[in-house]
Symmetry: C2
C-alpha cells in the first residue's frame, strides 16, 4: 500500500493511496487522534453521498459521524456556504475536539479545510479525496480556501490535514471527463519533476483511462510524490512551489475567458501546458522531440474541450492573474521532460504568439472532434 | 516611550505605547516593511474616522492609504462584513504585499486581523488600537475573528500583527463608559499577575479616570506587559493563557443573558471578576481583606451598569460557554492579589450560590445609582 510522508516546517502527515480505504476509515481516524476524545463531522455533497454514503455509514457502524452537506460545484465554494457549515457545527455543539472529514473533490476539500482552519481558530481534519484531481493535487499541501466574486481562491488559510486517505475505488464512479481532466495534473507532475511517471503515462494510457486499479494506484502515488516533494521544500510558495503552476498561468486565463463554465479546470490546464511547452520550444529551452512528446501525451489524455477566445484577451487575463507579483509575470516552462524552470522575462509579444498558436490548435482539435462525432 | 517585545514561537513583535504615535505612523510602517514594497489599506469605522481621519491623512501626506470602512458595533463583526471588505480589497487590486492597518477598537481589530489572516492566505497587518480595551487586551496576542449567530468569536485565526502601536492620545475622544469598561481589563491584569499595577490603580484612580496622559500610559503599558507575558508563555491557549479569562466565565454568561446589549463587555467582566473573587473567598483560597480590596477596586472604576437575570440562567449559560472542554468547566480564581489559579471542580451548587450573591450586589449597586441620580 503506497504511503508517502509529507514533512513541512509546520506539519508532518501521511498520504495513503489504496483501494478499500473507506472501510478502514473509522479505525484510521481513531489512530490519528491517538486516544484523545473527538467527534467526527463529515463534510460532503449530496451527489457524492448518494454514491458512497451507504458504504461510509456501514464502515462507521454504531459510531456514525455527523454529516454536513454543501451543494456540488465551484459556485458554492464561497463564504456563504462556509458560514452555513460553521453555524451547523456550532448548532451541533462542535468543540475544539471536532475532527472534520472532507469527503469529496477539490471543492469539498478546499471548503472543509478552510472550515477546519477557522472554526474556533482551528480544529483537525482529514482529507478523503474522491476525484482524481483531489487525490493527486488539491488534498495535498495544506492550501484551503474559497472564492470571491472578484476571483478564485482569493481567501483562505494554510492548514494541513492530519492525513490524506486516497481510496482509488472512489474513482470508479467519477465521470470520464473528470477522470481525464484530473490526469492532466498527473501529466504536469511528470513534465515538471518525474520522467518515469511521464513514461508510465505514455505506455499505459489504456490501462489508466480504463481505471485499472493497479495503474491508477501507480499514477496517483507517483503524482502525490511529486507534489509532496515540492511542498516539503517550499511550504509557503515562496519559490519552488511555483513550478506546480506549470500550465496554470494560461490555464487560469482560459478559465476566466470562458466564465469558468465551458472547460473543466484540468482541461484548461491541459491547454495551458501545451502553451507553456510551445513557449519553451520557441525560446529554444526544450528540444522539438520532447516538446512533441509532451503535447502528444496531453492530447492522448483528452479530448480537451475546445473554446473560443482571442489571443489578446487571454494575454490580458494572464497579466491580471494573482500569481503576478509586483509587475513581473512568472512563467513555468519545461527545460526537458522531468524538469521545469521559472522565467520572469516573458514579453507580451511572445505571449501573444504562443496564445495564437494554441488557439489554432484548439480550433483544429475542435474540428477534428466534430468530424469524429459525425462519423459515429 | 514604553515598548514591549512580544515573543512567541511563531512571531516576535513590538508593542509601543505613547502619545503622538499617529504622527509617526507612516514612517513606522515603512520601517516594519524594511524596504520591501507595500500598499497600505487602513480599516476603520466612520465614527472613529470622523474623529481622527484628518490627523491620520495629514500624517500620511501624499502617500495616503486606501481607507476601508466597517460600520461600528459588535453586530457588524460578522462574515458578511468580512466578505465585503475582502471584495473591496480584491477590487482595489490588493496583492500579497498589502499591509493592513486596523484603526479602531476591538471590533475593528478582530475583523481586520482576520481579514489579514485570510486574504490571499495571509498578508501583514499592524494594530493601531483606539479604545482602552483594544490597547490593553484585544490588539495583543494574535487572536482574530468574527462572531456567528450561534456565539461570539466562534470563527477566526491566530495571526499576529507586525506591531501594535497604541497612541494614548486616541483615548481622549473615547466615551467615559468605554474607558471605564476597558479599565476592568487592567484591573484583571493586576489581580491575576501584577500586584504593583493593582496598587497603582488603587492609588491613582482620579488621575487614570481623568485621562492624565502619564497615568494612562503607565496603566496601559503595565497591562500590556501582563498580557504579553502570558501570551509569550502560552501562545495557543493550552494552559496558562486561560488565566486571562479571569472574570470572563460568568462575564460571558451575563453578556449572553442580557443579549449583548445592556452592558459593555468590560462591565460584564467586572461583575464576573467580582463573582470569581467571591468564589475564591467561599473556598478559602483568598483572604477576606484581599477579596474586599479587589471588589472595592472594581466598583471604584465603575459604575458597572446593573442588569436583571436569575442565578439559574447565569449558571446554565456558563456551562454552555465555549471555554468548556469535554464536560469540565475551568474557572480562574484569585489566590491572592497578583496570582490566579485554574480550578476544574466547581460544582453547580457553588456556582448558584456565587451567582445569587453577585446578583444581590448588582441590585444594591443599581439602587444606589438610582438614589444618586435622584439626588442630583
Ligand atoms: N487546495 C489546492 O491546493 C488545490 C489545488 C488544485 C485545485 N484546487 C481546487 O479544486 C477544485 C476542483 O476540484 P475537483 O476537480 O475535484 O472538482 P469538484 O470538487 O467540483 O468535483 C468535480 C465533480 O465530481 C463530482 N464527484 C466528486 N467525487 C465523485 C465521485 N467519486 N464519483 C462521482 N462524482 C464525483 C463532484 O460532485 C463534482 O460534480 C477547484 O475549486 C480548485 O480551485 C485546489
Ligand atoms: N482578540 C482578542 O484577543 C480580544 C480580546 C478581548 C476582546 N476582544 C473583542 O473586542 C471587542 C470589543 O472591543 P472594544 O471594547 O474596543 O469595542 P468596539 O471596537 O466596539 O469599540 C467601542 C466603541 O468605541 C468607539 N470608538 C473606538 N475608538 C474610539 C475613539 N478613539 N474615540 C471615540 N470612540 C471610539 C467605537 O466606534 C465603538 O462604538 C469585542 O468584539 C471582543 O470580542 C478581542
Amino acid at each position: 500500500m503506497p504511503s508517502i510522508q509529507l514533512k513541512t516546517p509546520s506539519a508532518s502527515y501521511e498520504i495513503v493511496i489504496a483501494s478499500g480505504l473507506v472501510k478502514t476509515l473509522p479505525a484510521r481516524l481513531k489512530k490519528l487522534k491517538a486516544g484523545k476524545p473527538f467527534r467526527t463531522f463529515l463534510v460532503t455533497s449530496p451527489e457524492i453521498w448518494g454514491l458512497w454514503g451507504k458504504q461510509v455509514i456501514a464502515a462507521f457502524g454504531k459510531e456514525s459521524p455527523t454529516v454536513l452537506f454543501l451543494p456540488a460545484g465551484e459556485t458554492h465554494k464561497r463564504l456563504r456556504t462556509l458560514e452555513s457549515l460553521l453555524e451547523q457545527m456550532a448548532a451541533a455543539g462542535a468543540d475544539r475536539d471536532a475532527l472534520l472529514v472532507a469527503f469529496g473533490g477539490g471543492v469539498v476539500g478546499d471548503v472543509t479545510g478552510f472550515l477546519a482552519a477557522i472554526y474556533m481558530r482551528g480544529v483537525a481534519y482529514v482529507q478523503v479525496p474522491t476525484t482524481l484531481l483531489a487525490q493527486v493535487d488539491s488534498s495535498i499541501g495544506g492550501k484551503t480556501g474559497v472564492n470571491l466574486a472578484a476571483g478564485k481562491n482569493l481567501v483562505g488559510s494554510f492548514h494541513h490535514p492530519l492525513a490524506v486517505l486516497a481510496d482509488t475505488d472512489l474513482l470508479n464512479t467519477l465521470p470520464a471527463a473528470e477522470l481525464r481532466a484530473g490526469l492532466q495534473e498527473s501529466i504536469k507532475a511528470g513534465i515538471i519533476r518525474d520522467p518515469k511517471l511521464f513514461g508510465y503515462l505514455e505506455n499505459n494510457a489504456d490501462a489508466v483511462l480504463g481505471r485499472d486499479a493497479k495503474a491508477l494506484t501507480h499514477v496517483v502515488a507517483a503524482s502525490v510524490r511529486v507534489k509532496a516533494d515540492v511542498v516539503a521544500n517550499d511550504e509557503r510558495e515562496s519559490g519552488l512551489r511555483m513550478i506546480l503552476n506549470y500550465g496554470h498561468t494560461l490555464g487560469h486565463a482560459i478559465e476566466a475567458a470562458t466564465g469558468y463554465k465551458q472547460l473543466l479546470h484540468g482541461e484548461a490546464v491541459g491547454w495551458g501546458s501545451i502553451a507553456a511547452t510551445r513557449l519553451g520550444l520557441m525560446r529554444g529551452m526544450i528540444g522539438k522531440d520532447e516538446a512533441d512528446r509532451i503535447i502528444r501525451l496531453i492530447l492522448r489524455y483528452g479530448p480537451l474541450r475546445s473554446f473560443k477566445a482571442t489571443a489578446a484577451r487571454l494575454v490580458d487575463l494572464t497579466s491580471s492573474d494573482k500569481k503576478k507579483r509586483s509587475g513581473t509575470l512568472s512563467f513555468v516552462l519545461p527545460a526537458k521532460i522531468g524538469e521545469a524552470v521559472i522565467v520572469r522575462d516573458v514579453t507580451r509579444e511572445e505571449m501573444l504568439a504562443v496564445a495564437e498558436w494554441t488557439l489554432e490548435l484548439v480550433r483544429e482539435q475542435g474540428a477534428a472532434a466534430k468530424q469524429k462525432q459525425k462519423r459515429k
